[in-house]
Subunit: 273 residues, 2 copies
Amino acid sequence: MTCLLMRAAERAQLAMMLEVCAFPKPGNVDRCHDYPETCMEHFLASTIFARPALEEAERGEGRLGEIIHHAVQQTNCHKGGNTHFGAFILLIPLVYGGSIEGAMKAIERTDTSDAVAFYRAFGLTKVRTYSEDELDVNDPKSLAELRDREMTLLDVMQHSAANDMVAREWVTGFPLTRRGADLLRQFGNGRQAIVQMFVTLLSQEPDTFIAKKHGIIVAQETMRRAREVLEGRETLENFDQDCIDRDINPGSIADITIAAIFVALGEGWEWDS
Amino acid sequence: MTCLLMRAAERAQLAMMLEVCAFPKPGNVDRCHDYPETCMEHFLASTIFARPALEEAERGEGRLGEIIHHAVQQTNCHKGGNTHFGAFILLIPLVYGGSIEGAMKAIERTDTSDAVAFYRAFGLTKVRTYSEDELDVNDPKSLAELRDREMTLLDVMQHSAANDMVAREWVTGFPLTRRGADLLRQFGNGRQAIVQMFVTLLSQEPDTFIAKKHGIIVAQETMRRAREVLEGRETLENFDQDCIDRDINPGSIADITIAAIFVALGEGWEWDS
């Protein structure tokens, strides 16, 4: 199949597309469900518009922080707001390095300029942060602080790792991305494996996006509900509807799902077999 | 809005994405409906994979026939079969020329090499042709015939125009593409205008893809049904289900819809306002 020769940038776009289309994905945008302000087409438009930044990463030129900044800039060209900030944090080093190993090497080489570029990218989004966060991205003093402390982008991720599972992937070597890719291969070829993998991750790890928005109790309850679905004690449809009704969207596990699809596609998993 | 600065290649990809997502589109693949062999994700994968050919067209380098060939090659990288052959016939000259006027100038400059490249592209698809077609694309003699008769790609389209509304756009100056773009602006900003435009075109013109597959009577009956929907005498949902049950898919009007969205986006119509 020609797809094994697929470019890394295209593979990343395919991963972004397949993740948003997969349905039913409890609480998240999918073929059957939009958010009031952000619809599936916004996610797909971002998938298209991110191409130049993903190609930059593919060439392995430039710096990670700057490329993440470019990806966020390029995908700001619609009214759906931030769609893929967390996904880019994972995808850009993966595309840059070509694999989890390569991504880790690239991550180790980040410096303060990456941290500054990243905070500028963060400033373009409306991503939720802790109010008690020491380095508030909306505070201009934060950039000076980063420089004073000589923090690299890896240091920034270390700083966020306790409360953000996407940042934690950088610090710990992409273990959930790895687990997601393994689950896809375990569930077998075909797009239906994506929902199975998503619900499995959701049953195993509290989603930190949910935790930031609703608190850790709700994140843990969502885990428990996902387990009930896997054990056949609850339907996926009921779980989805309940998440939608309560505005619970597992955004961080969606980001990790995209990274996992990217890795699995590179290892021969086929979405349309 | 930054989107007015959107590159033509991206605008074409956006048009392809918006068309396939629009729902409910009677008989065609959309967010709520896949074909047995071809799902929405295949259309979206083609949207991603066509980027290099669309960029080639955007640069205005090379020849139309060859670029259409490249677009078909690049989108063969999945198991969903042909998704956008007709759309590329319209989009490639539109992207190349930047507008309908520009496309017509590019079309007039096609020669026999374009015709040969186009027939090679056709050979990669499984697009339905008339059995009585003089120039069977599966017959190697056709290419020799093209050269002997010194047919340009415009001549080939002229040859097909009577029975193929996409080819007819080349010969007649994109009148349905123009009408579709005008309808979008008339219906106003927002993705819901796409379905309104699609059903309106369907009510006004017999779809030649339906005619090739089921005969002109069925194509005319589909027109009549679309009119009933517009007049409120039938629901869009019933019409859609009936088309699906009878395997009636208005593929040519879908191609023209993509071209119309491309033109409208370039004229300031906004899909997400």
